[in-house]
Each structure stands twice: as C-alpha cells, then as structure tokens.
Assembly symmetry: C2
Homo-oligomer: 482 residues x 2
C-alpha cells in the first residue's frame, strides 16, 4: 500500500509560520491549525470516535468546521460531507445509507437530523484530550471524504474520494493554473461540496492561504480581487456576474496579483466573459464533478473567446474520450480516466463500480473538437444546475410520484435570470390538486432549491417509443399550457 | 501497473503553441518538439532500436540532444546518460556495465568510445521513418534514465530513475518553488546530470520553457536574470559567484519576474548570499543526489541567513531522518524516503538494494536542528565537489593503485578559489616516480576534473586502529610536506 506524509503535519513542518486560514477577521498559521486539529482529534477520541471510522459532518463554512475537518484527517476518518441545504429527509437518508458511526454537527443544525451518536462541535471541544498517536503517514488509497450525488436514478450515491484522488486533483490543477507560495484562495463555496473542499486540500498541499466565508458576498469578493488580497476564487455563472456587477459599479479592476477565477457549473455566457475581460479578470472555465474530485478539464482564460462554450482540455494526468466517437465533433458520452477518478461508492451502491473497462462514464454528453477541446452539450440525466447546485430531475420526480394525486411526473430545467436554471414540474393527476399542495409536499422532502418553481398539470408526458420520458420535450408543454 | 499519459503527447495536446525550448537563437513549441521526437523515434526504429530497449546516450546540451532524448521517451527506452567529461576508460566501463543495446552519440564524440551498435544523431536523422505506434501511456514504474554515480566503492553504479521518480521530483519542486505557465528555466547545467535532466522533465510536466546552453556563460545568465527572460536557474557556488560578478560589474539587479536560483552541491558561503541579496537574487539551497532524482530538501531563499549552512526541509512527499539520532542536533547518516527515491541499480550492482528497511541510506552525515532543518556536515565517502561535479576519492585512489610505483594512495579535497574544492593525492611509493608521471597515468583513466591538482609523496598514510584510511587526516600531510 502506497503511503505519503500526513498532509497537515508535513505542511506545518515545511511552512509553520505561513498564513493558512482567514475567517471573520482572524487568521491562523499552518502550525496553529495542525496543533488545533491534533488537540481536537484527541478530544474526539475521548468522545468515542476511533481512528479510521466513518463519521458524518454537518456544518457551515467556518473556521470551526475547518478545524473539525482537519481533526478528522488527523484520525484518518472517512468524512461523509453532508450538504446543509438538503431537506431533513434527504439528510436522514444519507446518514443511514452511509452507516456513519457518529454525526458531528454545528450546534445550529442540532435539530435537523437524528443519529444515536451525535456530537456538536462545541461539545467535543469541552472534552478532555485522550492520548492517541497521530499517524505521520497516510495510505493513498484510503477514503478521505464521501460526498453524495444524486446521479440518474434519483437515489443519492455516496461517492468515495481517496487521499490519492484529492492529491491528484490538486497537483493537476497546480500544473495548469500555476501555484506560488503567496497564493490566497477566496473560498465562498460551501466546503461540503468538492469545489470548496478542494480549496482545503490545495491549501495543505500548496501551502496556500484560504480566505473563508460562511456566505458568498459579492462585495467582499470584488474588493479582494481588486486589492490583490485574493489570487484565486471559484465561481459559477451566477456568482461571477454578481462580482462583476460590484466591480463595474465601483469601477474596480483586478489587481495584477490576481491569477484567475475558476468557473464551474456549465459554460459562462459570452456577455459575462466580455465584462470580465473589460475588468482584467481572467476566467478559466472547468468541467468537473464529485466523482472526479473536482476539475477534469479546464479552459485557459485566454481561450475563452476562441473556444466559446468549451470546457477546455484535460489536466495533465487525465484523459477524456467520447464514447463511440470516431472523429472530432461527434457527440457521445464523456468518459474519463485518471488518478482523480473515484474508486467507487459506499452504502446502497457499494457493489456498483463507477468504471466500465477502466473508464468513468460521466453520463454527460459532449464532443471533442478538431483541436482537442471538450464541449459539454448535455448534462447527464438532464441535470439542472441552479446557482451552482446540481439538481437531478429524477429525485424531484420521485418525490412528486409519492403524492397520492400524482400519476406521472416529469421535471426539467427552465432558464432563470437569477439562478441560471430552476426546476419546473409537469404532472399528470388522477384527482384535483393545487400547485400549493404540490409545493408543500416537495418542501417537506426536498432541499428548498430543488422545489420546482412552477407546476404544470398536463394531459400526458412526452415519451419515446420505449416509453422513456423525454425530458427535453417537457419544455414544449410549458408553452402549450401558458 | 499504474500508468499515466505520455508526457510529450499530453503536453503537446494541452499547450501545443507554448514555447518549449530555446537554443542558440532558435525556438520550438511543445507541438514541434513532440512531432520532431515522434519522427526521430520512427527513424530510430528503422536503425533497429526497439521500444523499451536500453540505450546509452552521449552528447552535449544541444537542441539536437533534447530531440534525441524526447525520441527515446517516445519509444520508452531506458536512457543511460553518459557524462561527456569522463575519460574514455570510464565511459567504456559504463557502456559495458549497462549492457546498452546501442550507443547514440553526437558526432563530435564519435572516436571516444566503441560499441558494436553505434549511431551518430546525424546518421539516424538520415534514416527512413519506420511505422511504429507511439504509446499514449507510460508505465510509472518503468525506468526512464540511468545515471552512473561512483559511490563509496570506487566502482560506478548505474542508478535507475523511473517515470515516477522524475514525476515526484518535479511535482514536489513545483509545490515548493511554485510554478507559473510563463516560467522559463535557464539551463546551463549538463543534461546528462540529474540537475540538467530534471529541467527537461519539469518542462514537460509544467509546460515550462527551457532556455538551453551548451556551455555555461555567466554573462548570458546575468542578462537573462536581469531582463526577466529567465525565471529560474540551477547553480552551484562557483557559477553563482560568476553570475553575481557580472551583475555587479554591470550594475544589474534581478527582474521582478525572476523567481529563484536553485543552488546545489553544498552550502553557499555567506558572502555569496550577501552579494545575491544586494542584487535581489533569491537563492534556494538544495540537497539532492542522483539516487533521489534531484532535490530531497530545499532551503527557502528567505531563510538563507537565519539558517545559514542548512540544506532546508524535505519537499512535500519526502521524509528525512538521521540514522540513530534520538534528539535534534545529533549527527548521523542521512536517510531518505519518498516517491523520488530510486528503486535500484543496473549492471554489477543490480542485486544490491539501495534501501534498508525502506530508507535510502545516503552515506552523507548530517543532523536536523530543533526547527527541523537539515544540515549536511560531511559528504559521503569524503566526497569532493569541484565546480558542481561529484568526485569520489576511492575512484582516484584505485587508479593510483594501478600505477606500478605506487604502494598506497589516499585522496582528499582541498580548498580552491575557483572550483570550491579540487582533489589532492598522497602516495606511498616503492620506486621513484615523478608528479608528471602520476598525472599522465591519471589523465589516461580519469575525467580531467578528477585528476589531482597536486601529488604528495609521503612516508605513510594516516590509518585508524582498524587500518582504515582516514582521509580527513590527509590534509595534515600536506602541511608537513610543504
């Protein structure tokens, strides 16, 4: 089994006095974080949490949460990163499916979910430290995190991300975007998502400062970019646009120290790219997913206009091919290979390999042009991306089907000026039901951002010859019913 | 077997139009180099060189040699990198020990060594291309290069450096010194040494430009540093001082784009560091060797004075310990672990593992201080470092022993203003022999830089109780005989 040094210890050893984390006006060095994490780990052991166990975490993006995550790393725990925007039912499903031995939560979530072995961060902090040896090495194949993704079936799958996956992802990104000892990543994406979490792994591997925010604030982001306090930031189209608006209003441009915005969640519209260019803000668009521990391909900022709509080329260790394509431009399923690809799932899908002949089949449809640039033309299972969050129609349809009045349901994304896309529902009913009743039903079972913004009662749903729902045709029903 | 993308192809795919190589006023992109290399590889196959074979290479640091090296990579050949400064006898030994199936040489060396299957670069270039499939993936455990190092016994050992070794070395350096897409490495160290060769591997992994020089020229180096044409350069104390002298004479300072000098071959004297600081030239001192595919530890430039004489801390993936030391400051053999450490040797030493319980025993003596900084106090086997070249006393002693007049011989390094150190020989003779005769004998069998600068005829050599030569006491005989 291949090993590598414990990242926290190695980083604290290499650059003890370098700034590691900023949060709400405070700042911590790598040595401070490592010492905090080791102490907190010893308290966790006092609370009965044993090294290598699987635990679920639920928190906001705070310095306290980072400390808990790093403490979990010190014990080499498998961290099930729960999305705090999920409904109580969704959370409960993931908790049970993951068979986490404990739930560690920010006290603000204490009433959201139940687990026989629940510990608030604050309660752990009050425990005595139990002596435990923190291993100086980590197994590269060990699972570091588990993140749930809904996939095509509607049943969320717990995706394993190993030490190797996170390492490969961070290293490939460094070779692509560059890395300098004085980099600072402005992190306002939730750290329970791979985008935010990968900022933490980059921090440890690069020796990079993370400037962490509990909530996204476009003014803070704009000022950081303009002042050079931040050198990198992850965005989606929505947050990018909001930052640019502030910069335009205040007549700010990017500081020369600012390196790039890393933009995920689908192509950035040309008008946004033009606005960014006018403010000297480079935008590198990327294609990634939970199963690939972040970026698989990234488009260099200077190619944003020449390859408009493209997600770029694979990072150094990665390979991408289009299933069945025999020449450039042919569409097919995007398949991915590389050390950043998950080895598999936990829970209900533990037996299901994500790989087919060594390739991850993404479920997304795309093509590679004659210059080798990837274009994603259709997200898997008609994925809806709303304000950077992935929404799977199948999950919402399942919830609608569970309503007694509903016979059939189909969900698709519709354009929205604020969120990019929002879900809309089309239902065939057997008895009268109001939009409000359907909405209330969904609110009970789904994260708020997944609740359809509109409900349409229709005669029948569009299906193909094999009787398969054609979600892309749902949008036509919207016009009919208006 | 773990695989990764073919570096040349992946780099040419990712950044085809980026400048890859500069040499004598010409310039090549990554795509051009990859295409050249593939064509040259096909010609090599026409000359009977088969993929995965072991070949020996003898050349100067030229664009042509880089093309040959990259062509060898395309065929996944094991490249035995011969040192062009060696004597004919030394070269012949390495050729035979390595059992290379072919010798590829710059025509200027055509009369230096003999091998039944010798091809000048120019002759291969005239061959027809034979169709061969260039593999798009590489095995990470495959041997990429073999470099001979003399070690303690006086018999040169062929050290294997795998794809993984070179990759790990380049990645760890990137995390330490940083890497940006517009980096340019001024390379005037020979590419048959790991220092120069690692510039090529960095180029492919980082997408970095190599500005290559056949001979070191301090004026070129100084102007490149001052103009920002180069951002990195590898030096030893000697070349560092020569560059600084030019910069001082011409009143040049380092351009803000210039990142650092990477200084190997032993600690840099304080006066040199002070001169560098005055010219804004950061100097990162490093401890590395052939067996570790370049750097193991590196001292940050900003710590040069606070940790004067130190070789710094391990790079991210590496671990260093002092054999037998129980507390900071205790001296012992420096032991090294990490993915950059050679898996072993070829030829006469193929059965000999370089590892002991998983650790490479460097043969060098050092200590780690209370802050974790490594200090190398004594190079293995009284290693002499002369102008950046390693010289092993045992090898020179073996040559002297082969002279009929010599009974006993001992060699040590003596300080030299120009080269840092030069070898001096102490011999006990049984019949009269002149210094000129001994020098002529050495010149026949040794690289010029290894030939002792002084020969002292003495009564007896200093030996310890076990009759082991105490080379460190030889220097006292010098005083006696003057």
């Amino acid at each position: 089994m291949e090993q590598m040094p414990n990242w926290l210890m190695q980083r604290a050893y290499m650059t003890p006095h370098r700034e590691a984390l900023r949060f709400e006006g405070r700042s911590w060095t790598f040595r401070e974080l490592e010492q905090q994490a080791s102490r907190f780990a010893k308290k966790m052991v006092a609370c009965g949490i044993t090294p290598h166990a699987r635990v679920a975490l639920l928190g906001y993006s705070t310095a306290e949460f980072v400390q808990v995550i790093y403490a979990c790393m010190q014990l080499q725990l498998e961290m099930v990163m729960l999305n705090n925007r999920l409904s109580d039912e969704e959370l409960q499903y993931q908790l049970e499916d993951s068979e986490a031995t404990a739930l560690l939560i920010d006290a603000r979530f204490a009433d959201r979910v139940t687990h026989a072995n629940t510990w608030t961060f604050a309660r752990i902090a009050q425990a005595e430290e139990t002596d435990v040896t923190i291993s100086t090495t980590w197994q590269k194949e060990a699972t570091m995190t588990v993140m749930y993704t809904s996939g095509t079936t509607g049943f969320p799958k717990g995706v394993r991300q190993t030490v190797r996956n996170h390492e490969a992802s961070a290293l490939a990104s460094a070779l692509n975007l560059g890395v300098r000892p004085d980099d600072v990543w402005f992190c306002a994406t939730p750290i329970f998502h791979i985008s935010g979490f990968s900022t933490l792994t980059k921090s440890l591997l690069y020796g990079m400062t993370v400037d962490l925010y509990e909530k996204f604030d476009e003014t803070e982001a704009a000022l950081s970019i303009a002042s050079g306090r931040a050198t990198m930031i992850s965005v989606v189209a929505l947050t990018l646009s909001r930052i640019l608006t502030v910069m335009e209003q205040r007549q700010l441009t990017a500081h020369p120290r600012f390196v790039t915005m890393l933009a995920g969640g689908g192509p950035i519209p040309r008008t946004f790219l033009e606005r960014a260019q006018a403010l000297n803000v480079p935008v590198a668009q990327t294609y990634g997913m939970t199963e690939t521990a972040s970026q698989t391909t990234t488009l260099q900022a200077e190619e944003a206009f020449t390859k408009l709509g493209s997600a770029g080329k694979p990072l150094f260790f990665n390979t991408v091919r289009i299933d069945g394509a025999t020449k450039p431009g042919e569409e097919g399923e995007i398949c991915i290979q590389g050390p950043h690809v998950t080895p598999g799932y936990i829970g209900r899908f533990a037996d299901r390999s994500p790989l087919n002949n060594g390739w991850l089949h993404s479920g997304d449809i795309g093509y590679i042009d004659e210059d080798g640039y990837l274009f994603v033309v259709d997200r898997r299972a008609d994925l809806i991306i709303s304000g950077g969050e992935n929404i799977y129609p199948a999950q919402i349809e399942n919830v609608l089907h569970s309503h007694p009045a509903v016979v059939e349901a189909g969900v698709c994304g519709v354009a929205d000026a604020q969120w990019g896309q929002v879900p809309a529902a089309f239902v065939v009913v057997k008895e009268q039901v109001s939009e409000e009743q359907l909405r209330a039903h969904c609110l009970q079972k789904l994260a708020r951002y997944k609740v359809p913004k509109a409900f349409y009662i229709v005669e029948e749903l569009p299906r193909n010859g094999a009787n398969k729902l054609m979600r892309r045709k749902l949008i036509d029903l919207q016009k009919d019913s208006e």
